[in-house]
């Protein structure tokens, strides 16, 4: 019995042992066998299989020693694959990498320049300390290589080394060697040397590795014509950090850069435009100024015929450029008419450009075009097009009637109830005197409204324009007060209170809401109720009338603009991510301290690089004219009091204040993109009240 037990235990033990032994079968086993095969072809095929497995995400790091055995080969393709494997798995086997060092160093002396370059390129990508120690000699050698292909690769390798170990890099004088390469006879080497220096500069600006002297400037401008397209972008980017010392020099730079506008690569064109815009201001008030500016229009327009993603970058950049130079594209407004097959993000951006290009002479054509967009399919595009119509109507008083006419046509024919009512509300705010023209349409369709903004707009207009015969509707809404959206609640309160003061009616509705105020979910609306109650309980009836019935100031613009400092900042940033997303993120690698200094430089107070993609739902508005502060202190408190959605700012007052961002209490807000209220915020109550102070 006991012997039986022990024998069965033994067999279990055997089984367990077997489980922990190296597998004799399976993929890894076969690969390992292939890697040490005596036949070169089989080894090479196996390496390919290993790379294939790596590509699909399998972990083949356990094969490291066996792959490494194949490093010393004369087959270039095989060598590349082994190197690729090493780059991927060096981190997991740092102690084994040392075995490869010898081959690497040898390869940097290979008669074939391709092998020399491959070796030095790969060494820089193996981010293991041990490798760094061995890079000094090969890097020194390849930086002085007779073949430019090797030199251009070595130049980049200096930047790689710098990020791994800056001491070694500085102590060995690699930075000086790199600076010397900027004067290399081969343009590709020059370009990569500048690339590497910019990379190092980004990492540590205090080293001043890329200081452009007059001699260097001359070199750059000469190399510009010889370089590949990417090299040109490199040089142009470096040039955009250079401040010309005199108008003459600025003019010389522009002369050299202007021909690049004819380059077929759009990023060369965009970078050239940036360099020109940075230099052109020094020629202001000369006749060249206008001539050069005009030369930018056609190349800019051509950028709208590029692949969609590049077009997107361009259109976002154009918004910056036309804000600084408003007439530069006015004649070309038709280029921004959307194409039926454009992706939505392009259609929306084109609308942004169109509303900014609209002037009296082209507005009729633009409005007719926007009308057609009202009949398109995508709801977001249609909505934006309708908003654009009201934006143009408000921007250009002489075109307001045309805009209203088209909006009402879209209301009746396309049945765009919500969108049009919101747009009409904005127009009413700009032209209250036109209410007799607009109100009938608003009232006629109120039963078709579903969007809370639109319903709020409808209810607001009842109170604002003293419309009679709608008490039943108001009562109906008031009965379900608690279920309404906060902005509808707010509009409703506003209209009820106005009617009370004007006609002494609807008081019972307000009382009911007041009595149940504690059940109102939104704190802001609740506060509003209490505030109204306090105002209404004032003794002086005239005072009450004055407070409640004060007319809003007219708005005269619902298109957003950047504030001047920010605009300058974005011009410097053209074609970078910042200029596309309208963020102000500084270099990530720069130390905190200098980052702060930098932010001060551009006088921006907010420095977040949060995800700003979603700021579009605030319509990307940045309108300083909309600064509502007449008395900052009181207003701050009131803003706190009345923030019932994120946008409480209004355009009703045009008092400039020094505090550029003091009023943006919008958490979504990107740095410096202040938020005006052309988005559909019907909570006018606040503004009515704010006006008082």
């Amino acid at each position: 019995m006991s012997s039986k037990m022990s024998s069965s235990l033994q067999s279990i033990e055997k089984k367990i042992r077997k489980m922990f032994q190296q597998p004799r079968k399976g993929e890894t086993y076969e690969l390992r066998a292939g890697l040490v095969s005596q036949y070169a072809n089989e080894r090479k095929d196996t390496i390919k299989q290993v790379i294939a497995a790596m590509t699909v995400g399998k972990d083949v790091s356990s094969l490291f020693p066996d792959v490494l055995k194949n490093i010393a080969t004369h087959d270039l393709k095989q060598k590349k694959l082994v190197y690729l494997y090493l780059m991927n798995y060096a981190k997991t086997n740092p102690e084994l990498v040392i075995l490869a060092v010898n081959t690497f160093v040898q390869d940097t002396e290979d008669p074939n320049p391709l092998v020399r370059a491959l070796a030095i390129r790969t060494m820089g990508c193996i981010r293991v300390d041990k490798m760094v120690d061995y890079m000094e000699i090969p890097l020194n050698r390849t930086l002085k290589d007779e073949n430019p292909y090797v030199r251009k690769t070595a130049a980049i390798c200096v930047a790689k080394l710098f990020e791994l170990n800056r001491e070694i890099c500085i102590d060995n004088g690699f930075l000086e060697q790199l600076q010397a390469l900027v004067e290399d006879p081969n343009p590709m080497v020059v370009a990569n040397a500048i690339n590497a220096l910019s990379e190092i500069h980004e990492f540590d600006p205090s080293l001043q590795v890329l200081k452009i002297t007059p001699e260097l400037l001359k070199k750059f401008l000469l190399a510009l014509n010889e370089c590949t397209e990417w090299g040109r972008v490199t040089i142009l980017t470096a040039l955009s950090d250079y401040q010309a010392v005199s108008p003459g020099e600025a003019s010389h730079i522009m002369d050299r850069v202007l021909p690049q506008l004819q380059h077929s690569n759009p990023s060369v064109v965009l970078s050239s435009i940036k360099v020109i815009l940075l230099n052109i201001e020094s020629l202001k008030d000369t006749k060249d100024y206008e001539t050069i500016l005009k030369k930018l229009s056609a190349p800019l327009v051509s950028l709208v015929s590029t692949p969609p993603e590049v077009q997107y970058v361009t259109l976002r950049n154009m918004r910056i450029i036309i804000e600084k130079y408003p007439t530069i594209l006015t004649n070309y407004f038709k280029v921004f008419f959307v194409r039926y097959n454009d992706p939505l993000y392009l259609k929306l951006e084109k609308l942004e450009i169109i509303v900014r290009l609209a002037v009296d002479s082209n507005a009729t054509q633009i409005l007719n075009e926007l009308k057609e967009y009202g009949f398109e399919l995508e709801p977001d595009f249609v909505k934006r097009a309708v908003q654009a119509i009201s934006q143009i109507g408000i921007k250009l008083p002489r075109k307001s009637e045309k805009a209203v006419e088209i909006l009402i046509l879209l209301l009746n024919e396309r049945e765009l109830y919500d969108e049009v009512i919101i747009a009409l509300r904005d127009i009413l705010r700009a032209y209250p005197e036109k209410s007799s023209l607009i109100l009938p349409s608003v009232l006629h369709h109120h039963q078709n409204l579903t969007d809370s903004d639109a319903i709020g707009s409808f209810i607001w207009s009842l109170g604002e324009f003293n419309v009679e015969n709608f008490d039943d509707q108001i009562a109906e809404y008031a009965d379900n007060f608690k279920e309404l959206d906060p902005n509808v609640q707010s509009s409703l309160l506003n209209s009820i209170v106005k009617t009370m003061v004007r006609r002494n009616e609807l008081g019972h509705l307000f009382n009911k809401i007041f009595q149940e105020a504690d059940d109102i979910e939104s704190i802001e609306v609740r506060d509003e109720v209490f505030l109204y109650q306090r105002i209404l309980s004032l003794d002086d009836r005239e005072e009450i009338r004055k407070i409640i019935l004060t007319k809003l100031n007219k708005i005269n613009n619902t298109i957003s603009y950047f504030q001047p400092d920010l605009l300058e900042f974005f011009i410097r940033q053209l074609s970078t991510l910042n200029s596309v997303l309208y963020t102000t993120a500084a270099s990530s690698k720069v130390t905190k301290m200098s980052q702060v200094a930098h932010m001060k430089d551009i006088t921006l107070r907010v420095a977040n690089d949060e995800n700003l993609l979603d700021f579009e739902d605030d319509d990307g508005t940045a309108n300083l004219d909309a600064n509502p502060q007449s008395s900052a202190n009181i207003l701050d408190e009131l803003n706190d009091l009345f923030t019932n959605n994120t946008n409480t700012t209004s355009q009703t007052n045009h008092t400039q204040t020094n505090d550029l961002f003091g009023f943006s209490n919008n958490t979504n807000n990107s740095a410096g993109i202040s938020n005006s209220n052309n988005n559909n915020n019907p909570n006018k109550t606040n503004q009515d009240l704010l006006d008082l102070f």
Binding site: V115, N192, T228, H263, N265, E372, D380
Partner: protein, 435 residues
């Protein structure tokens, strides 16, 4: 600059990637499919740039593939325009290598893709992206270094990289020296319901196929239509403005100062220049279309097309794509010329004409049934435009003409033959609006 490049399938799952800087954590790519779904859910916020947790995702699409570049560097140091163009360049190069770039060709050619990415980008900086140069030393076949040691020169990087002329190698020879020029103009036009042109532009291109020996220096003469661009005269209404873009072989400063187009061409085919004219044009093919909808029963479409080009010219492969309601069925057609087909998948009828001579006018009528239940979807009111495709050989809309192409090879002094062809075609946006 770009830290890593991924080729992803239609769901955003990575098929192949190359890490250039090693600063992107591995969760970043795993998150990509979810970010794509998120952006699809909110189309109004979708764009080719996504930011998530400090990672910038820049992507383009091609044949159900996503090409994705990720960067970690800040908004200041990321040249978005360059990265997007580089991604497009990858597509161009790989398409020239494998004919078609799709999921399968990536799986089949992973070794060569790794090799190419290694040459095209280093540490996030674009390097050599000319297919002609890359093909010099990155080939599908492999070679043994040992055996061909004698020809070491051949195995090295293309000598052209060391030259000032980085797009052409030395020692090219042809028995017969010829250069073919194709002047291709794509016309985009938006025509309204009344037949009025709202917007029109010509996107022109001169393609060159060079079969010339040695290091020839070429000089191209055009009529002044394009070259004498007067930047000062673009005031007033009828704006005629032009913009010319050249292949990197053209000496830009020479063009800027003397308006002369001179260049040493790459070998084989390339786009020498592109140009754009936004002048007001007459419709080349006019479509007059009436769509009468009898709701709940049928829709009747009457279309007349007129070819408004010279009598001598003929438009070929003409296609008129007319939208019909999505719920239409049982089509009946009456027509005298060409062929008409109903394409229910795209809710349109397609009228094809192989040849459409200038000055002719054809008509057709189509009747389609509609379901008896009224479609209450408000999108029924959506208007889709008619799209027109065509090609007109031996004709340029702008009137551009090649006056001469002088070919000089200082050493070889050979006789050479330039050839020119012209063609006008519809661009990707030749549309006619309907009521």
């Amino acid at each position: 600059m770009a830290s890593v490049i991924h080729f992803c399938d239609s769901k955003g799952k990575s098929l192949l990637s190359r890490d250039f800087k090693g600063d992107i954590p591995s969760w970043a790519i795993e998150k990509f499919p979810f970010l794509l779904v998120e952006s699809e859910e909110e189309p109004s916020k979708a764009s080719p740039i996504i930011q998530f947790n400090g990672i910038n995702y820049l992507y383009i699409t091609h044949n159900n593939l996503y090409l994705l570049a990720m960067t970690k560097s800040s908004g200041m140091d990321t040249n978005v325009a360059q990265i997007f163009l580089f991604l497009h360049k990858i597509i161009t190069v790989l398409t020239e290598y494998f004919k078609r770039l799709e999921e399968e060709s990536i799986r089949d050619n992973f070794v060569i893709i790794y090799e190419l990415l290694d040459e095209m980008m280093d540490f996030g900086y674009p390097q050599i992206t000319e297919t002609k140069m890359l093909k010099e030393y990155i080939t599908q076949r492999s070679y043994q270094l040992e055996k061909r040691q004698k020809k070491a020169q051949e195995l090295g990087p293309p000598s052209a990289i060391t030259n000032a002329v980085s797009w052409r190698k030395e020692g090219i020879t042809y028995k017969k020296n010829e250069a073919f020029l194709d002047v291709i103009e794509s016309v985009n036009m938006l025509i309204n319901q009344q037949g009025k042109v709202l917007r029109s532009e010509i996107l022109g291109k001169i393609k060159v196929k060079s079969q010339l020996s040695g290091m020839p220096d070429l000089r191209l003469g055009l009529n002044d239509k394009i070259i004498h661009t007067d930047h000062n005269s673009n005031s007033g209404k009828n704006v005629e403005m032009e913009d010319v873009k050249f292949h990197q072989c053209v000496r830009l400063s020479k063009f800027e100062t003397d308006k002369i187009i001179t260049f040493i061409p790459p070998d084989g085919e390339f786009d020498l220049m592109t140009y754009r004219l936004s002048t007001s044009l007459k419709p080349l093919i006019l479509v007059d279309c009436q769509i009468v909808t009898h709701s709940k029963s049928r829709v009747v479409i009457t279309a007349r097309i007129k070819s408004q080009i010279k009598k001598k010219s003929t438009a070929n492969n003409v296609e008129i794509l007319i939208p019909v309601p999505e719920d239409a069925d049982s089509p009946k057609f009456q027509y005298s010329h060409g062929k008409i087909k109903y394409d229910p998948a795209n809710s349109q009828i397609v009228w094809k004409l192989k040849h459409f001579p200038g000055g002719k006018e054809y008509a057709m009528q189509a009747e389609l049934g509609l379901p008896s239940v009224l479609n209450t979807d408000p999108d029924v009111k959506v208007k889709r435009p008619i799209k027109v495709n065509f090609q007109i050989p031996y004709f340029t809309t702008s009137g551009i003409q090649v006056r001469y192409l002088k070919i000089q090879e200082p050493k070889l002094q050979y006789q050479s033959y330039p050839w020119v062809r012209y063609i006008t075609q519809s661009g990707d946006d030749y549309t006619v609006r309907v009521d």
